[in-house]
Symmetry: C2
Subunit: 207 residues, 2 copies
DNA sequence: AACAATGTTGAGTGATCATTCAAATGAATT
DNA sequence: AATTCATTTGAATGATCACTCAACATTGTT
C-alpha cells in the first residue's frame, strides 16, 4: 500500500462524508472507520481536521476540468450549448441522488465560509474555475449575444442558477425548482440571441 | 419574567447562533449562556436541540410577512417593482453583515435537509411562503408579461437568484455576484415586458 | 390560605469530540 | 546487513457534546 493510496483514500472518504453530512456533522472517527485508517495515519498526512477539509477543497479544484468540464466540452461543440449541457449534466448528477445532497462546494461554503479561515479562499477558487469556463464559452459565442450583455455577469447568473436551483430542489425534494429556473434561463438566452440577431441586421428595425 | 419571554429569548438566541455558526456548529451550552437560561429551562420548552431548530424554523415562517413582505409591499406598488424591491431589500440586509452570514433558511436547508426529518418540510414551507408572494405579484402584473411565461417558474427563478446569488456573494465576500445576477434578471424581465408589449400591439410584428 | 401546575435551578450523566504519542513496521539507501 | 526515514498502529487524552433530574421557586386557581 503506497503512500499516495492511503492519502487518496482519506481524501476521497472525507469528501464523501463532508458532502453527505457536512463538516461539523462528520466526526473524524467516522472518516477513520470508513477509510479503514488509523488516527495516527490521518494526522500524519493532515495536521488537523481543518487541514483535511482544505485538502478536500483542493482536490475538487483539481478534478473540475477532467471530471466536469472535459465531458461537457467533448459532448457539445456549440458554446452556448455547452452552458446548458453543463446545467443538464449537473442535473443528471444530483437528481439520481434523490436530492439528498447539495453541491459539495456550495454546502461547505455556506457552512464554513466565515468560521474557518482559508475555506473561503478555496471555495472562491473553485467557483472561479466553474464561472471561468462559462465565461470563456460566452465569449466564444461572439456576436450571437448582444455586445452590451456582460459575459462575466451572465456567467455569474449561470452559476447562481445552478447553486440556487439545487438548493431549492433539495429543500423540495424535487427537481422542479431547478428545471423551472433553467427553463427560464434558456428563455433569457433565447431572447438575448434574438436581440443580437436584430442588432446584426440593422434593417430589421425594432431595438 | 413571563413564560413567553424566556421561550422567545431562547428562540431568538438560537436563531441567531444557528445563523452565525450553523446547527451542528452551535453547542447547546452556547445557546444557554447567550440566552442566560439554564439547561433545564430550555429542555422544559424544547425536548431536544432538534425540536428547538424546528421552533426556529416555525418562527421564521411566522415572521416572513410582518418583517419581510409587508415592508416591500408598503414601499412599492408596482407588482414587478416589488420583485426587485424584495431583491434590493434582501441585499440591504445581508451586505452590511460583510457577507459573513448567508440566508438563515438556506443555510439550514443545505446543512440538514436530509439528516434531520422534519427540517425539510419546514424549509419547504418557508420557501413556499417566499415564492408565493413573488408568484402573486407576477400574476398581478397581468399582460405586462407574456401569457406563456409561467409565473410559477419565474417565481422559482427569482428565489433561485436570491439564494444562489447570496451564496456566491458570501464565497467571494463581495456583493458583485449577487448584483450581477440581479442585473441580468432585470434585463430578462425587461425583455419579457418588451415581448408582451409587442404581443399586445399585433401591428408591431416581429414575434 | 392551600394546592396544583408551570417554570427554573445547576450539578452531573455517559458519549463522542478532535487530537496526541510512543512504539512498531515498512520501504529505500548506503 | 545496517541505517534511515516515512508510515502505521491503536490506546489514551482532556474537552465538549446533548441531555437528565431531583429539588426549588413562582404563578394561577379555588
Amino acid at each position: 500500500m503506497t503512500t499516495a493510496e492511503t492519502k487518496d483514500r482519506i481524501l476521497e472518504t472525507a469528501a464523501r462524508l463532508f458532502h453527505e453530512q457536512g463538516f461539523n456533522g462528520t466526526g473524524v472517527s467516522t472518516i477513520l472507520r470508513e477509510a479503514d485508517v488509523n488516527a495516527g495515519s490521518l494526522y500524519h498526512f493532515f495536521p488537523s481536521k481543518e487541514a483535511l477539509l482544505l485538502g478536500v477543497l483542493e482536490r475538487y479544484r483539481h478534478l473540475l476540468h477532467p471530471v466536469v468540464m472535459a465531458p461537457v466540452e467533448a459532448a457539445t461543440e456549440d458554446p452556448i450549448g455547452r452552458v446548458f449541457a453543463l446545467l443538464q449534466q449537473y442535473r443528471d448528477w444530483f437528481a439520481p441522488l434523490n436530492f439528498t445532497m447539495g453541491c459539495p462546494i456550495g454546502n461547505l461554503a455556506l457552512e464554513l465560509a466565515d468560521s474557518l479561515p482559508g475555506v473561503r479562499e478555496l471555495v472562491r477558487a473553485n467557483f472561479d474555475g466553474w464561472s471561468g469556463f462559462v465565461e470563456k464559452w460566452l465569449k466564444e459565442a461572439g456576436d450571437r449575444l448582444p455586445a452590451d450583455a456582460d459575459r462575466g455577469q451572465l456567467a455569474h447568473l449561470v452559476l447562481t442558477v445552478m447553486e440556487g436551483g439545487l438548493m431549492q430542489a433539495r429543500a423540495r425534494a424535487s427537481a422542479e425548482p431547478y428545471d423551472a429556473s433553467v427553463r427560464q434561463l434558456r428563455r433569457y438566452f433565447d431572447l438575448l440571441e434574438d436581440q443580437a440577431a436584430r442588432q446584426r441586421r440593422p434593417g430589421g428595425r425594432r431595438r
